[in-house]
Amino acid sequence: MSSRQEILNRVRAAIGPRDEQTARLTVEDRMALRKHNLIPRQGLTAGDERLALFCQKLVANVISCAQVSDNDQVPAAVADYLRSRNLSLGGIILAPHPMLDAIAWEREPHLDLIHDQATAQTQVAVTRADLGIAETGTLVFAAAPENPTSLHFVPEVEITILSAAHIVSNLEASFEYLRARGQSTLPRAVNFVTGPSRTADIELTLTMGAHGPKAVHVIIVG
C-alpha cells in the first residue's frame, strides 16, 4: 500500500465512523461558499476612516508614507524620498508594470530608472502594490510578469505606488480581489507585507533589516 493510502486510512480510522456523504458535502460547500468568519471592528472601516486607519497602521509598522493627488506627482515624491534618506537617484529598478511605465518619470530628470532583475547589490526598487489593507496596514503584492516577487525582498529599500482606490478594509476583501484576478487559481505568490524586515532573534532586541528591505515607503495616489 502506498504511504498516501496508509496515511489516509489511518486518518479515517482515527476520525471514526461518520456519514460519508454528509462529510463530503460539508467540505465541498465550505470550500465553495468561503464564508467569512468574524471580522474585527478595525477591519470594517470605509471611506476616510479607512484611509486614516491605513496610514495610522503603516506608521505603527514603521512603513513611511506620502500621499499625492495624481500620477504626475509620483516622480517628485520618489525623488524627495530618496533625497531625504540620502540615497542615490540612479540605478533604481522599476518593476515592469504598465501603470508604472505610464508615469511621466522625465519630470524628475535626475531619476534614473531601469527594468532589470534584482541582484544582491540592488539598493532601491520602485514597485506597484496591488492592494493596501487598512485593518493591519498591510501591502499586498500578487506575483506576475509585471510584478516580480524578488523586488519585495532583495532591494535594501522598496518604494511602492498604491492607488487610494485600492485600499480595502480587511484581509477577506483582499482574498476576493486575488480570486477574481487569478481566475481558477491564485497568483503563484502573494506577499502580504506589513513592515520592513526585522528580527528579535538576538537577545529579543528588535533589529530592522534582517534579510528583506530595511525600509519600505508607500506613495498613495489619489
Binding site: R10, A14, I15, V27, I202, G209
Partner: protein, 472 residues
Amino acid sequence: MSHAVTSPDFVNNSKKAIADPVLQTALDRMTRGFPVNRRRAVEALPEFDSLRDEAKVIKDHALAHLDLYLEAFEKKVIESGGHVHWCLTPDEARATITRLVRDGGGSLITKGKSMVTEELGLNAHLEKEGFKPLETDLGEYIIQLANEPPSHILGPAIHMPKERIADIFVEHHTPLGFSERKTTPEELVAEARTILREKYFQAKVAITGANFLVAETGSAIIVTNEGNGDLSQTLADTHIVVTGIEKVIPTLEDAATLLRVLARSATGQEMSVYTTLATGPRRPGDTDGPGTFHVVLVDNGRSQLLASPAKEALRCIRCAACLNHCPIYKAVGGHAYGWVYSGPIGAAIDPAYLGLNTARHLPNASTLCGRCEEVCPVRIPLPKIFRYWRTEAFKQGLTPGPERQGVRLWAYFAKRPKLYRLWTRTAARVLAAAGRGKGRLRHVVGFSGWTNMRDLPAPEGKTFFEQWKNRE
C-alpha cells in the same frame, strides 16, 4: 550532526539548567518580554477571545475532515502544477526530500524555518548525503553554526547571550573575511545579512515549512518577520515545502482568522511582517519564482495522535505563547525537554511523536497551573492532555517503583478520610512549629527534592478542613 534525544534525562537536564546563570538571564528576559507584548496586542483587540473560539472551531472542523481536506489540497496543488509527496515515517520523509533535493541540483540548500525538518533531523541527513543545508532564519542560522537544537519555537537561539553569538560569528565568519568581532545585535544582524545575501542567489533548492496549507487553493502559507523563507523560495529553482498533515485548513477566510490570532499570540504583532502564499511553480512570463514546487506531507505519529484522547494538541499553530507563559519553561528553558518541541506543547505532543517511554517526564513538568491553556489561541486543554499522558504512563507501568508506591500510599490515605485528616493535621502542626517565626522551611526531611531549590512555605498550623469548620 544529529541531536540526540535527551528527554529521558529531563530531571538532570533541568538541574543543570537551573544552575546555569547565563541561561537564567536569557529566560528571564524572554519570559518578561513576550507576555507583555502579547497582552498589549490582546487588549487592543476586543474581539480577540471570540476569534480564539472561532480558531478552535476551524481547526476542529479541519481535523474532523482531515482526509477530505488533504485530498482537496493535493488536487489543487497538482492543478497548479506542483507535486505532493506523502510520508508516513521520518525515514521515508528524509529519503523523499533527499531525492527531490538531488533532482533540484547543486549542493547548497537555503532553508526557511521549519520545525518539522527539525523533527526529521533533516540537516544532519542531508549533510551525510553530501549537501549543504543552510538555515536562513537568523536564530536557526546561529544554532546551526553552534550545532545546537532550537530552544524555543519562535526564537531558536533565544537562550544565547550576544557575546556567545559574537564568538560563534568570529569562529565561522573569519574564513569568509569577517574577522572583526561584532558586539551589538545590529552589527551581528548586518554581518549575517551580508553573508546570507549571496547564498540566496547561489542555492538551487529552497526548503521551507508551512504555517498553513489551504485546501481550497492548494497554497502553502509561511509567516516570517525576517523575509528569509520568502527570499529562499523566490530565488531558488526548486521550492520544497516540508510540513505536517495537520496544517491543512479549508479556506483563505479560515486562514484570516488564524492569522489574526497567530501573530498576536506569538510576538504581539497584529500581522507578522511577511505572510506569503505560495501556489505552484512559476507561471508563463514570470521572471522569478521556483520552476518546480513540491509539498512533502509528513505524518510521523500525527495520525496516531489524532486517534488518541490527546488529539486536541493537533490544533496547535506553533505560536509559542504556552512556552512564554509557562513557569516550568521559564525555570528550565527549552533544551531541558530534550527534543524539538519544548514547553507545554512539547509535553503534549512529544510523547506521541517520540513514544511515551522516552518522553514520559515531560507531561510531569507541569504544576497544572493552566496558564498555557489560558493563553492558547486555539484553546488546547494542555493540562488535561498532561493528565492523560500521566495516566497512560502509570497504566503502562513506565513510572518507576518508588513513584508508583508513593502514589499508592497517597491513595491509601486519600480513600480513608479520618486517617487522611489525622495525618494532615499532624503534618500541619509539626511543620508550623518548625517554621515558626520565619514562615518558611529551609530543610524538610524526605523533601530535599523540593527544598534544595527553594524554601517550603510553612503552614499556619491548621488544615483547610479545620479552618473551614471554624469559619462556620
